[in-house]
Amino acid sequence: MIKETLLSAHQVSKHFPVKKGFFQRTVGQVKAVEKVDLEIFKGETLGLVGESGCGKSTLGRTLIRLYEPTEGEITFKGEDFLKLSSNNLRKSRRNIQMIFQDPFASLDPRMTVGQILQQPLDVHDIGTLEQRKKEVQELLTTVGLKASHINRYPHEFSGGQRQRISIARALALKPDLIICDEPVSALDVSIQAQILNLLKDLQEQRGLTYLFISHDLSVIEYFCDRVAVMYLGKIVEIGTRDELFQNPKHPYTQALLQAIPTVGEGKKTMKKSLSGEVPSPLNPPTGCAFHPRCAYKMDRCVTETPKLSAVSAGSLHQKSCFLKET
């Protein structure tokens, strides 16, 4: 089966300058995203996982140009996404939408649900006013809310309901790709499952593609087809869910998987648990960024930077590590 590439990123970096003092001199760069290659295939769910602060949210935001990338190329549906003028970018954004983490911050407190959902249709001038109103009601029922909620304000809803509104807003423009930035992290576990199931149903009905950013490996395992693991701004391993969860190749992935708490199996040994702190992205370690915490550290890890390469010839399972086999 040949997969159609929807979005591809090539050597994308995003650095934030660190400014200090009265004259705002730039004293350093936070390399939040560093030379990332990524492909998202049509119809799949790609999970992006990593500890907090590893740059996964920044990568998500850079991919839809909420942050302008410092360098690199982004191609969306065969079109160079970075070359778009601001006007064309606005039009093109119809096809990529985003769901944010905090359901309390992502909805304007001064707009009713109806206004929030109608805004994307207004902005892109879709349909007549009548049609827009009808569409808003349909969106609400699609995400499991009542059409009568249309005149309520966001604060009158629970966290889960608010996230449904966010999803409805993302759906309004019928996008191809939705970037879900930790969409369930702020929710109760019982609500998480409901929202995840809703997202799955919507994907089946509408043929959506998701980039699903999360720090929660169990959610990723439940929800994603392929998984990319990020560490300090770089992707260290990428593969299908089964490859990655059954046969992790990168020491960091292995350590992450070890750290998932398991119930009932009685395995209390944690062979290769993570030790030490995540280094500051302002001053990342040389060579492989993971080497200070790695159990298999070799001399070349300190000096050379490993490249993301296939685990076995022709495989899409890739890792960036010098280890032959672990």
Partner: protein
């Protein structure tokens, strides 16, 4: 079909759309003291607007002095002295020679007064008002200007008179004009300055932000009253740009507004900057951008409505403190200059006049206190009303 009826029901049960301002109003009206504050403020503003009308209807004039009616208590009458009466009658006769001669002839002719014709009108003016009225009733046509002059000789003062015999009631009304006017004007101008500086600092960040915020902090740390006094003591004639206003009658008002503005924009600037900085990174702004909203949509639809509430609150509270500043400076003799009345300058000689007539201090003081309290209550009410989380159904 079932689906369709259900949709119908859904739409029927849909709650009535209510615009945001209406909800804020409902919320605001639940704060009893705030509503009382608004009523008092509106009453004072109406009073100030119709000051000329009130002055005309009551025959009281804010600048008219009367040496024989000083320090009168509330609810008393004043009568001008006999020498002033004689001068007034003389002036009137000189201005209306023919009418005066007719009137004099009629009075003496009907034998209403047993004096010579020349003295008749003087005699009439000097006698008690009631007796004079009796005599005038028997005369066919009394010129209205003469009647007007006679009624000016005796006045009713609901709030008494001050140290030069001016009516306190009408001066309080004209004072409302100046005090509330200066308060509102300087607050609005200060808010605009604050809005400009705060948004510059918030949007551009970097060294502009550092510079403007250092300035703001420095001004906030100063002891305001001494600094204001130094500036208020400046002679406008020596300031090139402002020298034009000297003698326009409004120079002390302009000076007051400028000084108060200079020292009250900082709160708004900080508020606006803070809101912009926090809103810029809020996810709903990012969400609007991913929806393809243009900058002006984001600014006017999302940023502005979220800043305007807190700004309104600080504006309302600002009017209260501006009125206090004006009152304090005028009280010290550095603010609004007499003869123009302001509540503050009506208190200028308070330390001496309290021994003669305490009302001269209590009444303007009460007006200041009432207005400031009203604005503060209104601000408090607005504060709870514009908070979206407080909106109830």
């Amino acid at each position: 079909m079932n689906q369709q009826t259900q949709d119908q029901q859904n739409i029927q049960s849909m709650e009535q759309a209510q615009p945001l301002w209406k909800m804020i109003l409902t919320q605001f009206s639940e704060h009893k003291m705030a509503v009382a504050g608004v009523v008092i403020i509106l009453f004072f503003i109406l009073m100030a607007l119709f000051a000329d009308l009130i002055s005309y209807a009551s025959g009281l004039h804010p600048h008219r002095q009367n040496v024989s009616g000083r320090y009168l208590l509330p609810f008393t009458y004043s009568e001008v002295g006999s020498s002033e009466k004689e001068t007034a009658v003389e002036n009137w006769i000189n201005q209306n020679t023919e009418v005066a001669a007719q009137l004099q002839a009629e009075i003496v002719g009907k034998n209403l007064l047993s004096v010579s014709e020349e003295d008749a009108l003087y005699e009439l003016a000097l006698m008690p008002k009631e007796e004079g009225q009796e005599i005038l009733k028997q005369i066919e046509t009394v010129p209205s200007s003469f009647n007007q002059m006679l009624s000016d000789f005796k006045k009713f003062h609901p709030f008494g008179t001050d140290e030069v015999g001016r009516d306190v009631f009408i001066r309080l009304i004209y004072g409302a004009r100046v005090s509330i006017g200066v308060g509102i004007l300087s607050t609005v101008v200060a808010a605009l300055i604050g809005l400009l500086i705060g948004s510059l600092a918030g949007f551009y960040g970097g060294w502009i932000d550092s510079l403007l915020m250092r300035l703001t902090d420095a001004l906030l740390s100063l002891p305001l009253i001494p600094v204001m006094i130094v500036i208020a003591a400046v002679d406008l004639q020596k300031v090139p740009v402002l020298a034009d206003f000297v003698g326009s009658g409004y120079e002390s008002i302009i000076k007051m507004v400028l000084i108060i503005c200079l020292f009250s924009w900082m709160t708004v600037a900080r508020l606006v900057r803070g809101s912009i900085l926090s809103l810029k990174e809020r996810e709903f702004i990012l969400a609007a951008r991913t929806l393809g909203c243009q900058d002006h949509t984001i600014i006017f639809r999302h940023l502005f409505p979220n800043v305007v509430g807190p700004m309104l609150v600080s504006l309302t509270l600002g009017v209260g403190s501006s009125i206090i500043f004006e009152a304090a400076l005028s009280f010290l003799g550095l603010g609004i200059m007499p003869p123009m009345a302001s509540w503050g300058n009506m208190l200028t000689n308070a330390q001496e006049v309290i021994y003669k007539n305490v009302w001269l201090t209590i009444l303007p003081g009460l007006m200041i206190l009432l207005t400031v309290v009203s604005f503060n209550f209104m601000g408090d009410g607005l504060q709870s009303a514009v908070d979206p989380k407080s909106i109830k159904r």
